[in-house]
Structures are given as structure tokens and as C-alpha cells.
Point group: C2
Chain length 446, copies 2
């Protein structure tokens, strides 16, 4: 209560970012004698782990989003502000949110990461990534346009290029996308076309390391690979994408180079910290790692700035293992809750032991009935893992209320294999055959 | 079987447009000895009567769309072609679909209408209409941006302008939008903001005629008006919008002119036939009415072209009453089924009596628990009408399979009043206060 007594107004906690980290921090402060302002560029929390389902037509964007105002509606000490933070002033203790300034007593930055192209930013329009709702809808558009274009194409070579999907990156996102793409091409769409056989589609997953899911134990990587191959996915490991053009992707494996005729390239590789990393570094002198993440203290604060915290994907927390904690939702949630607890303890003149991440395991889904789960003490795969995956995801969705619907939608998709949300939107003109392909690009930013 | 015998290949029915008319025609031909090609610019059928729910965040676009290929997947005599018809040649019996030509034996055109602005096309970017999924998402974006901007605005006058929503047109779309907007502002969002009281929002419905729902019996119009007013909607009848600017709408009532400070104007007025009307007129010499609709023969064919049919909103069928049949889904469905039956009868050398529309009544929803229903022999309003409305809409949705989900989503919305699909998408920058408002317009076409 020190701060409160001092300046007559409650301690103000400003949280930047409404992802898992920021939202869990805000929720953990619901009963605290503080004022909370949660700032986000978007008006909704996005359940990113399911974004690949939106990209492949299984769920609508609304199914995996919760309006931030609705989530925090009853938390009376908390205000939501839709805006973008562009500057931090640690001396004045202010953040600049577009055209206004906000005072803070404690600042929590949780703005996450976006995808990047390892210095090949010119690939961005050709190989969309998967971080935002718009990204997912753009992927969805391209995937379904590719099948439509293939259906119209009479040249067999060109048709094959429309039916070749290259997924770059064999991490969880790439693996889940590959599984969903296989399900889509080989099951859902099987009877929908008259001129093409969608089971001839080629789904190619490219990974630079020697196995898919590199952060997982090797035996699970092997199981994931086997499951994907059973679904019909072609996997190339130790392979690097060296060039992406409109209709050809170049891949290097050791000394060999291969050119693959493909119209659709989906990016599930590099991640880079959001611009807030730079803003923090500039304001506080904090160090960034190569991915632009802020290297934080054991209590998640920025060095020499005990009231500025960085959590979630934007933070590099190197104190627990020899490598930073992974950029996954459970890490962000636990960090958010830790910082909230720390702020509450400070009111009591107390402190907290340093942050420790409790790893309850990792899991990735590969398709209908197949997933891999690593709970540390037990690793398993196949249908039980898939059920566990569904259960855990639904559990977290329900945390943000109305998402029982997703369970029903999934149940429905499961039994009907319909993928009813496969709308091609934001496109004025239907796809043409390949010669006139440049006509059908949309003016919407990618 | 005459045609079949003649040219060795089955009679080819080309259907342009996958709305209610085109899709019902295609389905009614499923067992016929013909080949069917359904052409649509989009890859999905849209359940337009619920589009206002998407615009107000109650449903996702995927919930009211069905992929055309999925709907017709098992109908083996039918092919779906995503494309745009730009020309008809009745002599050669061909249609031009972008870069290819298609022969037809029978042609059914069902491309519907879009909204228009009575010669004030400059209003389009200021007052979006509601015909496509993109329209609905643009409305949704504007509605929720307006509340966000009001929350940030400290000038009370300007805040009031952000909280004023002008709906132009008191037909079913305008009435349903107004009811949903009232529910949104006065119930759903009530506790979500900290600086504004959303119950101070003003929802203004402007109608040029002397009552809302002009096509309905006067007593139902009165009931609809009473229900809307109970919900908090302000209704101005005999009022014309004469100008729309960024922050002010000008309305004329008789000799009086009123200026209303409003940042959000939604267009639910004029309808105009799609461009295919002109294409048909040019190719066949058919007459168009003032709205650009094709005036058809009693059997829905184009004069002097017995194998070219126009159905649905694009058709002006003046033979049943003293005025054309209304542009509603049941008319389009019955017309589609009639033409399919006519084509089948021709194989048997038979003909059909002229088309007759069976009017089972009309209904419009006004909000939670309130609707108006006119079944001819009985008119009723309120909760029973609302239940009837839900039942009938769900019934038609289920016709196109997986839409039981909508019922569940509605049940959920009904009990929680959440409107979880209120995402602001396709917008790079969060809304600013009014001075810098021009910054937040999006490059996406309206």
C-alpha cells in the first residue's frame, strides 16, 4: 500500500499485449488493490495454437477469439485500451499510446513475436506466415484458391504445381498445418472436384534440423514423422529453403539443390520479437538476443528497472536451463501469473523467489486421431494423445468462456470431416488458369 | 431425351449463381438425365438473411456459409465452377467464363442484386451496405471501432457522434440490423467499457415511407415499430437521407432538414440488379425494369429465348400480382425448383403451367424475443414470432447441412448475450480520437 498512500491514487499496472502472458497477468490482478490498464492493438485475445485450424477451414476466426473487453468485463479494477504503444519513458514512468501518454507504476510488456524470413523479407508476399487472424485468412484463401485453380488447369504440369503445397518449418505449427492439409486434401475434399483428384496433392514439409519437432524428445519426433507420413505428407529434414518464386521453391539438402514447382508456400519457420523489444532496449539499455527478445532478470524484470517486466514470447529467460524457455502459451501464462504475484507481494513489503517454469509437457496434433504428447514422466502418441490434446486445448479455451462451441464444432468436423469454414474471402476475382494468375491477387495486405 | 439423342452428350444445364435460386435449381436436377454446371464467383453459398448477425458480431461468416462443392459433392451429374460470367451468346449457346467458353443447352441465371445508392455512389465508402461477407465484416469493423473510438474520446460532442449509428432503410435488413444494434449497445456491451456508457448510444432508423417494413401489412409494421422503440431504437419515417459526410448525415423530412452528427452510417436501402441483367439484355434484347431486373415470361424464361431463364432477385416476374414478386429467398427457391421441373418436363415432350409463387408468409426479427410474422391467414408478433423465425431459419440452414451449429451458437448467444465474434479485423491501426481519425481507415476496399 506504500504507493497508494504516497500519491493518493492506486498503483497503476500497465500491461501491453493481450495474449496469454498479458491476459493471465491481468486476471491474476483482479482482486489486487491496483488499477490495471491492458493495452492491445487488437480488440480480442487470439487462441493462437488453433490458428492453423482457421487457415485450413476447420474453424472460423471468431471461434478462437475472445473480445478482451468481454473477458475482463467484470474485473472492475481493469480497463482495456485498444491502442499501440510506441515509446516508453522509464524516468517519467510513462508509455506513449498513439496520441496520448499514460503513467504507470508497474509496466508489463507481453507483445510476443511475429514470423520473419531470416533476412529474406521479399518472401513475405509469396509465403505467408501464421501469427494473426489476417494471416490465417490469407493462408485459407491461398489454399482453397489453389484447389480451384488446379480444377480449371488443363496443363498437367501446371496443375501439379497448383496441387503442391510446401510448408517451411517442422516445428509444432508446421507439423499441425501439414497434418491438417493432408486431412483436407486426402479426405475432406476427396469428392468435391470433378477434374482433379485431390488425393494427388503433394504436401511437402521442409525442416532444417535432422527431425521434425526439434524441441521434443527424439522418439516423439519419430512418431510424429511416422504419423505424418501415414497421412501422406512428404517430409524433408536437413533441408533449407534457399529461394521462393511465384511458382518454384528451391531447396538445398547438403550439397544438392532441388527445384520444386509449387504455387503455394506456407511459412512456419522463423520467429522474431515484436518491435517492443527495440523500444524497451532503447528506453532501458536492456540487451536483446539475436531474435530480438529482451533478456530478463530472474524475476522477469528488465535489468536496473525493477518495475518493468517482460513476459511471454518477447522475453528471453535464460536462468532455468542452458537455453531460453520456449515460446509457448504455458510459459507465458505462468510468467504473467508470477509477475502479478510479485507486484502483489511488493505491497506487503515482501519479495518472491525467482521465477521457475513448471513444465507440464508439450504436445502437438498431427491430424484426426493422431498427436504426440510429452508429459516428462510419460510420452505417448496416437489417439490417446489426440484426445489429450483436444481436452487440454478446450480446457484453455473455456478458460476464456464461450468456447464450448469449439468442442461442438470439432465434434462435428470429426464426424463429418466437412471443414465448413473454407471460404475464399477478400478476393475480387475467381482464380483463372495459371497464365492469368497475376490477375487474381488481392489488394489486401498480406 | 430428345437433346441427348441428337448430340450424343447429355443436355447441359448451366446455372450462373449459387444463391438460393441457383442452388435449389441445381439440387432439383440431381436425378435428371442432364449435366449441370453451377458457376459462382465465390466458392460458398451464403445464407444472406443472417448476414446482419455477422455484421453485429453474433455469428462468424463461416457459420452462415456452406462451400458449394460440399453441398453438391454427392450430386454426381453436377460440376461446380468458380468463375465469373461476362458474356452470353444465345446463337452459339455459349457463356464466357473469364478465359474460357462453355456451351449450354439450358441456361439459368440467378446472380441476384447488390445494394446501390440511388445515384449517390460517392456514399458507398461512408455507408457500407450488406450483401457480401466482406460487407458484413466491414460493418462489424466500423461498429466496434466506433465504440472503441468513443471510449477514447474526451470531447463529449465528438463522443456522441461516435455513439450515433444511422441505419438507412426500414426494410427487413434495416429493422433486423437496428434490433441487433440495440441489443449490442444496450445489453451486450453494457459492462465492457469504463469511460462511456454504451446505453447512451443512439440508434436511428431512417425510412422513406410512412412505416417500417413497407411490404408487410400495416399492423405488423406498427408492432415492429413498437418493438424497436421498446428496445431503444429511434425511428424516423417519411425521412430521406440527402447527404452523408464523414461525421454528419443530413435528413429531410417534408420541408425540414436535420443534420445529425454521426460517425457510423449503415446502408440498408436501395437494391440494384447485378451486372448480368445488362449482359442478358444485350444478348437477348430482354427488357430491364428500373432496378435493372430482367422482365421474364410466365415460365421465367427470357422472351424469345425459351432455354434462357432468369430467377431469384434478378428476375422481375410481373404475372402474379400487380407488382413484381419480392426479392426474398422463398421466391428464389421456388423459381429454381420450377425451372428445374420445366427442363425435366421438356425431355418428356411436356410443358408446365406458368410459374405460381406460393406465399407462405413473411417474417422479420427485431431482437431477442421479438419478431413479426405474417402467414397470410395469421399475423403475430413478439416471442412466438421470434421462435417461428428461428425455427424457419434454422430449418433452411440445415437444408444445407452442418448448420445445427448456428442453433447452438444462437442458444449460447441467447443465454449469455455475449456476441463473441466481435473481432475488428483488416485494420492495421487501432482507432484514435476523432482528430486523427483519418489515420485508421483501412486500405481494404469497402
Amino acid at each position: 500500500m506504500l504507493t497508494e498512500a504516497k500519491d493518493q491514487s492506486p498503483h497503476h499496472v500497465v500491461i501491453v499485449g493481450g495474449g496469454f502472458g498479458g491476459l493471465y497477468a491481468a486476471k491474476a490482478l483482479s482482486k489486487a488493490p491496483v488499477k490495471v490498464t491492458l493495452i492491445d492493438k487488437r480488440n480480442f485475445h487470439l487462441f493462437q495454437p488453433l490458428l492453423y485450424q482457421v487457415a485450413t477451414g476447420g474453424l472460423s476466426a471468431g471461434d478462437i477469439s475472445s473480445p478482451l473487453r468481454a473477458v475482463l468485463s467484470r474485473q472492475k479494477n481493469t480497463e482495456v485500451l485498444m491502442g499501440e504503444v510506441t515509446k516508453i519513458d522509464p524516468q517519467q514512468q510513462t508509455v506513449k499510446v498513439q496520441n496520448r501518454e499514460l503513467n504507470y507504476d508497474s509496466l508489463i510488456v507481453a507483445t510476443g513475436v511475429s514470423h520473419h524470413y531470416f533476412g529474406n523479407e521479399q518472401w513475405a508476399p509469396k509465403a505467408p506466415g501464421l501469427k494473426t487472424v489476417e494471416d490465417a485468412l490469407e493462408m485459407r484463401r491461398r489454399i482453397f484458391v489453389a484447389f480451384e485453380a488446379a480444377e480449371k488447369e488443363t496443363d498437367l504440369e501446371k496443375r501439379r504445381a497448383w496441387l503442391t503445397f510446401v510448408l517451411v518449418g517442422g516445428g509444432p505449427t508446421g507439423v499441425e498445418l501439414a497434418g491438417a492439409m493432408a486431412e483436407l486434401a486426402y479426405t475432406t475434399l476427396k469428392n468435391d472436384f470433378r477434374n482433379i483428384d485431390t488425393s494427388e496433392a503433394k504436401i511437402l514439409l521442409i525442416e532444417g534440423m535432422d527431425r521434425v519437432l526439434p524441441p521434443y524428445p527424439p522418439e516423439l519426433s519419430a512418431k510424429a514423422q511416422a504419423s505424418l507420413e501415414r497421412l501422406g505428407v512428404t517430409i524433408q529434414t536437413k533441408a533449407m529453403v534457399t529461394n521462393i518464386e511465384d511458382d518454384v521453391v528451391t531447396i538445398r539438402k547438403g550439397d544438392e539443390t532441388e527445384q520444386i514447382a509449387a504455387r503455394t508456400v506456407l511459412w512456419a519457420a522463423g520467429m522474431k520479437a515484436s518491435g517492443m523489444g527495440e523500444v524497451i532496449a532503447k528506453a532501458t539499455g536492456a540487451q536483446l538476443d539475436r531474435a530480438g527478445r529482451v533478456i530478463v532478470e530472474p524475476n522477469l524484470s528488465v535489468p536496473n528497472h525493477p518495475n518493468i517486466f517482460v513476459i511471454g514470447d518477447l522475453a528471453n529467460f535464460p536462468h532455468q536451463n542452458d537455453k531460453p524457455l520456449p515460446g509457448v502459451a504455458p510459459v507465458a501464462m505462468q510468467e504473467g501469473q508470477y509477475v502479478a504475484r510479485l507486484i502483489k507481494q511488493r505491497f506487503k513489503g515482501k519479495t518472491l523467489p525467482e521465477f521457475h517454469y513448471n513444465d507440464y509437457g508439450s504436445l502437438a496434433v498431427i491430424g484426426r486421431n493422431a498427436a504426440v504428447v510429452d508429459l516428462g514422466f510419460i510420452k505417448f502418441a496416437g489417439f490417446p494423445a489426440w484426445l489429450a490434446w483436444i481436452f487440454i486445448h478446450i480446457f484453455y479455451l473455456i478458460e476464456f468462456d464461450n468456447k464450448l462451441l469449439v468442442l461442438i464444432q470439432w465434434g462435428w468436423n470429426y464426424f463429418t470431416r466437412k471443414r465448413g469454414a473454407r471460404l475464399i474471402t477478400n478476393q475480387d476475382t475467381p482464380p483463372l488458369s495459371v497464365e492469368e494468375e497475376s490477375d487474381y491477387r488481392t489488394p489486401v495486405e498480406v
